[in-house]
């Protein structure tokens, strides 16, 4: 229950009401005062002061002065009249309630209107500011355009002037040329009779008789000297050829064609493969030094394959693989041996392992990949798994479309498959 403030004093004039409300010991701010046209409330919990005013007031212009311990209200009346009392005398609870609610609603509406107005003015201000900046920028742009336009016109004029000069110069030249042609004929006649150093005399002679501007003199001189010059031009060079080489790269492609990323990966893998040495040296201690080198073993294996000793070749490759399991060529060659030994499953395994190690696919390992596909394909066919075999042959053909034997074999397999499906 709030504590009602009943002590107040008021006086009035024709147009205003002055209300003094003492509030000792409490701090008042403008938030505690609520005022509408006919309702005034001051609420500082737990204190409460409420007044239903006798007549409506102009609440926007009315003021409240918060002093030390007292609020001084100056309420401007809407109608100039004298009030009988500050508040409406016979106000019952319902009326009071109604008035209160009304007052609150009114206040809300007012507040809304005010915010709306504020928004509108803000927008207008923004618009204005924007337009102003746009105008400024436009002016600046125009200024620059004008300067550029002036330059353009100046330059065009200069160009026209220059062109005129060119045309005039050409006309003059043509006239001179004709004049000179006449003189050249004369000069040539004289030249026949006289020596080289006397040619100056004909020129001087012409300069005396010449009525046209002195440019002609220079003209004839230069014509003359040009003739001499032509005779002095060096003979055409003796034909020769310079042979050149182009910059080589590991992969001979220009930057724009290279697949650097893949190629770098391939190179890196190769390097790593070379470096891996199997840690399992205990069993291998009794091997000779050279037998621990996978490359040497590979070569040994190749030789034995060439002589037809397939089992020995397989042994060599096995040892090499134990030493370094990352070299794809070992698996590739071992697959070939297994094919010859008719260990078809082992051949397939080895070719697959080789293909695995031969990624990423780059032009460098094309040959190896073709061989792997062909060997695996052959093994599949010999196991009568013709569709898988055909797949591998086609993959080989994709890498190397020009290989006739692969093409022939692929054809054969296709026929076989068709034959089988017809049977079944």
């Amino acid at each position: 229950m709030p504590v009602w403030l009943r002590e107040y004093s008021w006086r009035q004039t024709g147009s205003a009401v002055y209300l003094m409300l003492p509030l000792r010991g409490v701090r008042v701010t403008s938030a505690n005062i609520f005022c509408t046209e006919q309702y005034l409330k001051v609420s500082i919990p737990p204190f409460l002061f409420e007044a239903i005013l006798y007549a409506p007031i102009d609440d926007t212009n009315s003021t409240a002065k918060i002093g030390n311990g007292i609020i001084f209200f100056t309420l401007y009346k809407k109608e100039v009249a004298m009030w009988d009392s500050l508040t409406l005398a016979n106000a019952n609870k319902e009326q009071l309630q109604y008035l209160r609610e009304n007052a609150v609603l009114k206040a809300h509406e007012k507040a809304k209107e005010e915010t709306e107005e504020k928004k509108i003015t803000k927008q207008e201000h923004k618009k204005y500011a924007l337009e102003a900046t746009m105008k400024l920028e436009e002016a600046e742009r125009k200024r620059i355009e004008d300067l550029k336009e002036k330059e353009r016109q100046k330059v065009t004029k200069e160009l026209e002037l220059w062109k005129k000069q060119q045309n005039d110069a050409e006309k003059q030249k043509r006239v001179q040329k004709e004049g000179e042609l006449h003189q050249e004929v004369e000069q040539l006649k004289e030249k026949k009779n006289e020596k080289m150093n006397k040619t100056r005399i004909p020129n001087e002679g012409t300069s005396k008789t010449r009525l046209k501007p002195t440019k002609g003199c220079h003209g004839s001189y230069s014509m003359f000297s040009q003739n001499l010059k032509e005779e002095q031009l060096p003979a055409p060079r003796s034909a020769a050829t310079i042979k050149i080489n182009f910059t080589s790269r590991v992969f001979p492609t220009a930057l724009r064609e290279s697949r650097i990323a893949e190629e770098e990966e391939w190179l890196r893998k190769q390097r790593e493969a070379r470096r891996t040495i199997s840690a399992d040296l205990s069993e291998l201690e009794d091997l000779k030094e050279e037998e621990k080198n996978p490359d040497w073993l590979k070569d040994k294996g190749n030789k034995m394959f060439a002589t037809g000793n397939y089992l020995a070749a397989v042994n060599a490759y096995n040892l090499a693989v134990r030493l370094n399991s990352k070299l794809p060529l070992l698996y590739l060659n071992r697959a070939a041996c297994h094919l010859k030994l008719r260990n078809l499953h082992k051949a397939i395994e080895d070719s697959s392992k080789a293909l695995e190690l031969l990624t990423p696919p780059v032009p460098d390992n094309e040959n190896a990949r073709v061989k792997a596909y062909v060997r695996r394909g052959t093994a599949f066919c010999q196991l009568e798994l013709y569709t898988e075999g055909l797949q591998d042959y086609e993959a080989a053909l994709k890498i190397d479309p020009k290989n006739k034997s692969i093409e022939k074999d692929a054809e054969k397999i296709r026929h076989l498959i068709q034959g089988k499906t017809q049977d079944s």
Partner: protein, 359 residues
């Protein structure tokens, strides 16, 4: 700040003309306000158009059609009186035409097995000394030097060694023609090789590789002791080599700049100032550059051998004219700042570069 910006050279677009064919090369006719456009018509024939700059337009004076599309042309090897045009076409033929009577070429040879990508001429137009010669670089990997007085066989042939896989030659340029004997040819290839051939000693004088295909090479002046060489490449890079000092192992010093994100198709030096050059790019832009020499152009290395010092390059101005690559560029030798460029959007544009005197 805007005012300061306007003190720099401006690239003013003066005239623009749409042409009904693919434009490959455009060149000013020396001593005139006329320009030449070369290209390939839609029906697969070559087209040559001669325009004159009149008022604010280009007026078409002549149109000449030839059997094969034309790729490149030069006036570099003809005299000022004759002004014959040498062209290379898609079939590998080198022809020299008299534009007054273009039905029959003055000189013709099937120089290469494949398209002639680039052509250059030296010894003509009253510039430099020595015999007029033409060099052509082709997709067949060879670079050949021709003398118009000698029929059918080139006077020099730079070809790959037997068995070597060939690389396309994309650009050629003459240089160092300061007296009657000296001459060099610089050639750029699609794998980034740049090779310098000395024609006096008939040998390879220097080679290097700039990793990306070389689209254009040019010496700053053909007729002086070789001073600078600019080589442009794919992926927006160009290199400026200082050619005054050749180190026995390191070759020539260079500075490189990555300017545009796309290929730099052409570089052309201003005929009136050899330290200013313009590069044209695959994004339709033109950049104007100035080269500044270092305080000392050469220094000694640890073993006492002379080696060159490269300077620096600064961008003066740039402009984007088109969305398609600007494939050809030529400065007028008669009017400073006037230049023509041709782009793959079938438009030829004449530009004026202002304030070059103040640079």
């Amino acid at each position: 700040a805007a005012a300061a910006g306007l003190e720099r050279p401006q690239l003013v677009a003066h005239v623009q003309q749409a042409v009904p064919y693919t434009l490959f090369d455009c060149k000013w006719v020396p001593r005139s306000a006329r320009l030449l456009c070369l290209g390939s018509a839609a029906r697969g024939t070559g087209l040559l158009q001669l325009y004159e700059l009149r008022g604010g337009r280009l007026a078409l004076l002549r149109e000449i059609e030839k059997a094969k599309p034309l790729k490149c042309g030069t006036f570099g090897a003809t005299s000022l009186q004759q002004r014959y045009l040498a062209t290379g076409d898609f079939g590998g033929n080198l022809n020299i035409w008299n534009l007054e009577a273009p039905e029959i070429p003055v000189y013709s040879v099937k120089g290469h097995k494949e398209i002639i990508n680039s052509i250059d001429g030296v010894g003509g137009l009253g510039i430099g000394e020595g015999a007029p010669e033409i060099v052509t670089g082709s997709r067949d990997g060879t670079v050949k030097v021709w003398d118009p007085r000698q029929k059918d066989t080139p006077v020099a042939n730079m070809e790959p060694v037997q068995g070597e896989s060939k690389r396309d030659c994309w650009t050629v340029a003459f240089g160092n023609a300061y007296n009657q004997e000296e001459r060099v040819v610089c050639a750029g290839y699609d794998n980034g090789d740049i090779k310098l051939f000395d024609l006096k000693t008939m040998s390879l004088r220097w080679e290097t590789n700039i990793k990306n295909g070389v689209c254009s090479v040019e010496f700053d002046r053909k007729d002086v002791n070789m001073n600078k060489l600019v080589a442009t490449s794919l992926e927006g890079k160009f290199h400026v080599f200082d050619m005054r000092t050749q180190h026995p192992t390191k070759g020539f010093a260079s500075v490189s700049e990555k300017a545009q994100k796309s290929t730099i198709w052409q570089v052309r030096h201003l005929p009136q100032n050899r330290d200013i050059f313009m590069t044209s790019g695959g994004a339709g832009s033109l950049h104007l550059w100035k080269y500044e020499y270092p305080a000392q152009r050469s220094k000694k290395d640890s073993e006492g051998a002379e080696m060159g010092v490269a300077g620096s390059v600064s961008l003066l101005q740039n402009v984007t004219l088109s969305t398609q690559p600007i494939s050809s560029l030529d400065w007028s030798p008669d009017k400073k700042g006037l230049c023509v460029c041709g782009a793959f959007d079938q438009t030829v544009r004449v530009l004026i570069v202002t304030k070059l005197n103040k640079v």
